[in-house]
Symmetry: C2
């Protein structure tokens, strides 16, 4: 049984959607146990809404609650508050992973706080300069989503860090996204070697020499959604801006389309006929099904989901967390990083 | 009459689409004269396709051809080749502006080459650290498009440059986009003052002190398409990535939607009923109507349009170039930059 510690208090829709998603995962996913971590009363009140499922999951030993006495607020200063509120749900859940009582951790809470807690409690994998948040984006080819990292954990990055992001992303793509030979790209402003800023140019030169990855060179914003690259690395500032821009654009297009579709009876009829097409489009662009963003570089499977996560997003995040734990992503990363860094030293 | 030098040889669809757009602008725009610059034979061959319009424009003194003996290829190294090919269409047109024989220059050629030629021939406006490419993006509010700069002219930027980008963008927004009091934002990863990388944090502190602009603080990728900010500044690496990501996402959504709309008779009928809605959506997202990206910070109106510009894009770029020249954007920028830099010196 893979045990997933789930932060019941994290996210805009906590604890309602989180507990619901957790119960659904406990019932729906094979060999997965969900450990809800948070304020006992709040969790119990939510669990009471699904008596049948809860009873079923509990009987199968697939659902448990671990109490935490504190909650991190979204406007708390992340790094400070995880140190101050030692018994907040994020820290309690993280300690379950640290102590071997859980195999993975899932949270829709503040990504800065989750990262800080992970680094504080789990520390880093040996040799890793900086853990990074990797995010999975849909592309034109549904079977080939893109892993983009860093999506916001590190602002000003050193080229050496980006090289490690590539190695860590490569491991995750193979182990969890099941790409046999992931193609790695460096986000830049042109495909030619010489294009980019100082940081990407230095990174390019280093990535070319990494034996364990298949580096295809620079990729542009144009390439992100093409489904021709498996892992794209960039600094956390650029990654975060790209991610939010894409989200915002999708929302704006939905907004335009909706407005246009309600102009007149004929259009409304057309929209009804196309309901299935719109639904399918929405699903293809829906980040929820990709199950959140793994924090790579810490010894343990840590999955951060969107602050606005629905129960469905939580369900998939639990699934992905279980997957990451079962495939020992951290172990693979530790191996690949050690191999790369020892080769560098011998040179 | 506002005289626009139009690079007939620049862009993927040159000279065909460029000449066509130039003729349409000469006929359709009041008080605008189009000066086609490029290989004489190639231009004449295209002009021969529109004998009536050409005759009409010529009779009104609204169309002229100035020969250039060389052409810059898209794969030429930009900065080098504009120096080597002194008689290429970009340089010839730029000299028309320099010599007061044209009021603005429009090109769909390589943006690096156009920028290099502009800086080489026109030099910079006094006090400007680095000219920047500003690009106009559609937002949810059609009357309030967003000016994003730098869109790719400068990779590694100093905070002082970004402050000037804000001042230049402010001037352009007022003069050409007709915003009376433009709201200026700094692209970052959170709205709080403390969020961002080292460069944006330093820029934030400087922008707060600029009296001549209305600085609203950090804006996120989320805000770009909301229509609540008029000018957003960032370094050219980030700006270029944002721009290309957005373009790529729009294409991917079109691709998904098309595929879905052809699945079955009912959907095809629905799509027919919604044809108008799709067309309107396309128009709202169409960068062509915004008429290309001004290069701000050089003494002269220089407009760079997309490499794949159609005749329609060229028509609008000529319109925007005329607008920028008539409103003396360069003069306004020179004034605002001088004012800002002299205040800084007194401090």
């Amino acid at each position: 049984m893979t045990r997933i510690a789930l932060d019941a208090m994290g996210g805009d829709n906590a604890p309602g959607e989180i507990v619901r998603g957790g119960v659904e995962a406990a019932v729906g996913l094979d060999d997965v146990k969900v450990i809800l971590v948070g304020i006992q009363d709040a969790i119990d009140a939510e669990l009471a809404k699904y008596p049948k499922d809860v009873a079923k999951a509990r009987a199968a030993g697939k659902l448990e609650v671990v109490a935490a006495s504190e909650v991190l607020e979204m406007d708390d200063e992340p790094a400070k508050s995880v140190r101050a509120k030692t018994d907040c749900s994020i820290n309690v859940a993280m300690r379950l992973v640290k102590d071997g009582k859980a195999d993975a951790f899932v949270s829709a809470g503040n990504s800065g706080a989750v990262s800080a807690s992970a680094i504080f409690i789990l520390k880093r994998i040996k040799g890793v300069h900086r853990p990074a948040i990797a995010t999975v984006l849909p592309t034109r080819r549904p079977i080939r989503p893109l892993l983009l990292l860093d999506a916001g954990a590190n602002m000003d990055c050193h080229p050496d860090w980006l090289v490690q992001f590539a190695i860590m992303g490569n491991a995750y793509s193979k182990a969890v996204l099941k790409r046999t030979k992931p193609l790695i790209g460096l986000l830049s402003i042109g495909t030619e070697d010489c294009k980019g800023n100082e940081m990407t140019k230095e990174t390019f030169a280093l990535l070319k020499e990494v034996k364990s990855i298949d580096f295809r060179g620079n990729v542009e914003g144009h390439d992100i959604f093409q489904g021709q690259t498996d892992v794209v690395v960039c600094d956390g500032f650029v990654g975060n801006v790209v991610l939010k821009t894409a989200e915002s654009l999708v929302h704006s297009i939905k907004y335009f389309l909706k407005k246009e579709c309600f102009k007149g009876i004929a259009r409304i009829m057309g929209a009804i006929l196309l309901k299935g097409a719109f639904k399918s489009l929405k699903q293809q662009l829906d980040p929820d099904i990709y199950g959140g963003a793994p924090l790579l570089g810490v010894p343990g499977a840590v999955i951060i989901t969107h602050g606005s996560s629905s129960h469905k997003a939580i369900y998939h995040a639990v699934r992905v967390g279980a997957n990451a734990a079962r495939n020992d992503v951290s172990g693979l990363i530790a191996h690949d990083i050690e191999e790369y860094e020892s080769t560098r030293k011998t040179l």
